[in-house]
Symmetry: D2
Subunit: 275 residues, 4 copies
């Protein structure tokens, strides 16, 4: 079971949320409390936006906690929007092309969960990927296949509908092959300005997903951070497991919902797989 | 352009052919003479048979010349049949699952060359892989796709015919997409007792492939090697580029041929793609 | 805190003790029960003897649990005497030259524990290493420095005395610099026939160390293993944490003692640092 | 033999000089023309200054030409002062702590060349490093030892004199041990504002070192680069081998000299080892 974090708001150094705190994402990779897997040492990735349209991606197969380059990067890079992901493989190979976030054009995508019995479904799902996108698949994970299916179904024009269709296809394909609960997921995706965060599972018992809805709560969590003190009211963090233990700082996204972080009011909508 | 070596005969330590000599495979990876690429530093792999049916495989993304574990392994492992491959990527990612030799059951497979414009053909070729084999594809290379196509076409029962059908399909698919000369290859494959070595290219101008046909020549090449002195008369080496400069030691495999190393007399047959 | 295992006896495949069991060393690297560190993901190493005098060493900075080459090696290599070590760094860099076991000539050495405030003591300890040995130091760990000090003090002729002198020097040097409890260690070393296993700490509260004293107990632990069934009565395993939960299978080495595994009767002696 | 590049001037993206051009540093790592080694595939490093005092360092043991993270970083990071180095090992281990540039506080250091018979001299040179600095040595290269000796001799207050004393010590120590020509070097070091570039060898036949003295020449070399068009007149590049073939763009630093890039007029001074 993986761990991920999405940040959107005033530019901060990546290390503020990835490295520095007792309950940072890297700390979580060593000691997860709510995760199904005890250790997340099968690689990690960071994707961030700077002044260009295309995000930068740094991915490695080393455990995050002992990668010096990650610490240098996290100290040296500031960003207004970044994704970070720490992987615990559910069986596929430990290689950079299997680490999140995945990138296509200006989009990023990361996932926690799995398609159950993916080896059995992989070929049929791969065939549903659009011809023009197929050659860009570089790895062998269920997560990357889900990304390319969502792109096939129009992620770039209507993200919620595209992910609903992707999940619909996975569930239909899975059940055709006798898989009762085909999908388990929390997913984050972004085009560089809006962030969509999905929580869904076929069995209606999804892995956790949290929004930091109140900026004042986050600031209370890091009172000594001058950098955080200057964050805009629009600043939001979405995580698979809360950072820190401050009561009231985090709101759990309900089952079968998608949260949308955007300029102006954020949104929370029901999520329904489609065929 | 890659480099490879196949050995069959009296058990020897891998280091005898991989590490020790001035013109060993590792030395070739630093300074290739006949290759199209100046450096082969994009990973390597070794596959060998011990007393079991399933070969062992050691693959790494480090350059072969600075991998200490390879030297330890090559010094510690003796084998009667082994493959070694040094990679120069033609574009796909540098990761273990893209390094040769590839393995399926008791079979090994390695390749030097390429399918031209593979990204354009990849999806259609992948779809031709048998459903039961598809989920075992771990990497993204043309070489691994060729292996799974050959397995689909019956590699395990009639290897020559299976490879002829695989090449026929690649050429047909390529030409359908406007690729004039779709394939360039030297390939070695084995089931643990017989070795098949193919040389073919659509343009009739294939990369080099050599057999050491005379054991006495090989022994003359390594006069100081006590280990080689005791090699059986059936011992053979197949290489993409000759080891050493001894005149008469190596015989080039002709264009569009397959050589078969087996108990008893070896064979050389014409190779003709089939549809 | 690291984990290690030393095996001496009838030749077995490394995977029997490293990979296969629920409580194998690799499993321990993910979920340690008695260790001070929750995860041992900072690299690993294996050293084994074949028919030559010099042991082979395979070391990697990947977490042991996701290194495919380790699994291949452990399945392909049999040995009558091998060491395996899984590292949790106490601060020094994650690199192959800092992973155990360390090798010098036909000797292997591995360590669990630490020299406290090693950065403060490092220079003075390094200067005590014999001139002829100094250039062979490749890494930066306390463990490797301890090995070279022991070699300096005659490890090859009188191992127990050499380690007692090494510990005496570390304690003297530490206390001179104000370190109250300078050393904490369990150490295994071998010349390829005898194995010495030390348990000692300045504070008299050392990390655990266990011998499998009764072969019948080990066989009872792995009843389904045909390979273990054929093990000689001299076969012994020494571990930092017991493999499996079988009552009676493991005997704890007492504080400040060294166990010696050798042809004929094994020995257990008091261990006293010397100056 | 290594390759390196130092850039000082108007902020540019690292990729402009590391990745983009036919004769970029990465291209040189594959095909060096003036180097003694044919391939530089034993790791690389980049050090750069952003708005803080401490430089950031990214170092890897992968060949530079196939490291995707380097390409991302070089595209995402702009800097007014950066060092880049591509390594060809002269014998020491391939590990991050042996790759350049080395960092201490706000200083960076990189080196092309070697101390001859370094294993013989290593201990005596290491003992000359100041006690307070010794514990910061992380690797095993001659280059890093030279850095810590220069720091010991006052690099931070008088860099030219400190390097002259370091070279004096190396030559004296070498000759005492029967090494006739102990040192061969081009070195760059910086405190984040001034860059010192040294060219020296005991035999008076040093490896090459070039300054781009005229900004208009550099702009002529990259006419299509809008980013270069806006570079300040103070912008300078120092390289071990010229980038590109434009006549007149590069000036060779003479034997036994040090060039100093600084605000205002740059300087070129004779360099004389001292004892």
């Amino acid at each position: 079971m993986c761990r991920w974090l999405a940040y959107s708001g005033s530019p901060i150094r990546l290390e503020e949320l990835l490295v520095k705190r007792d309950r940072s994402l890297i700390d979580q990779s060593l000691h997860s409390r709510q995760g199904a897997t005890t250790t997340n040492g099968d690689g990690f990735g960071v994707g961030w936006y700077d002044d260009g349209e295309t995000p930068r991606v740094y991915r490695s197969t080393h455990p995050a906690w002992n990668d010096r380059n990650l610490r240098e990067l996290a100290a040296g890079v500031s960003s207004r929007l970044f994704f970070a992901h720490i992987r615990a493989s559910t069986g596929t190979a430990i290689q950079e092309t299997n680490t999140h976030p995945f990138r296509s054009g200006r989009w990023l995508w990361m996932h926690n969960g799995l398609i159950r019995e993916f080896p059995k479904l992989r070929r049929e799902l791969a065939l549903a990927v659009d011809d023009s996108l197929f050659a860009s698949i570089e790895g062998t994970t269920d997560s990357e296949t889900m990304f390319y299916l969502a792109l096939t179904f129009g992620l770039e024009s209507d993200p919620v509908s595209a992910v609903e269709r992707m999940v619909g296809l996975v569930e239909e394909t899975g059940r055709k092959h006798g898989v009762e609960q085909p999908i388990q997921m929390t997913i984050a995706t972004t085009d560089g300005s809006t962030v969509w965060a999905f929580r869904y599972s076929s069995e209606g018992d999804s892995r956790t997903l949290y929004f930091s809805t109140r900026m004042e709560a986050l600031k209370a969590l890091y009172p000594e951070s001058d950098e955080l003190a200057g964050l805009s009211d629009e600043t939001r963090v979405v995580v698979s497991e809360p950072l820190g233990d401050l009561p009231g700082a985090w709101n759990e996204v309900p089952e079968s919902h998608v949260g949308i972080i955007q300029p102006g009011a954020d949104e929370l909508q029901p999520f329904t797989p489609q065929r």
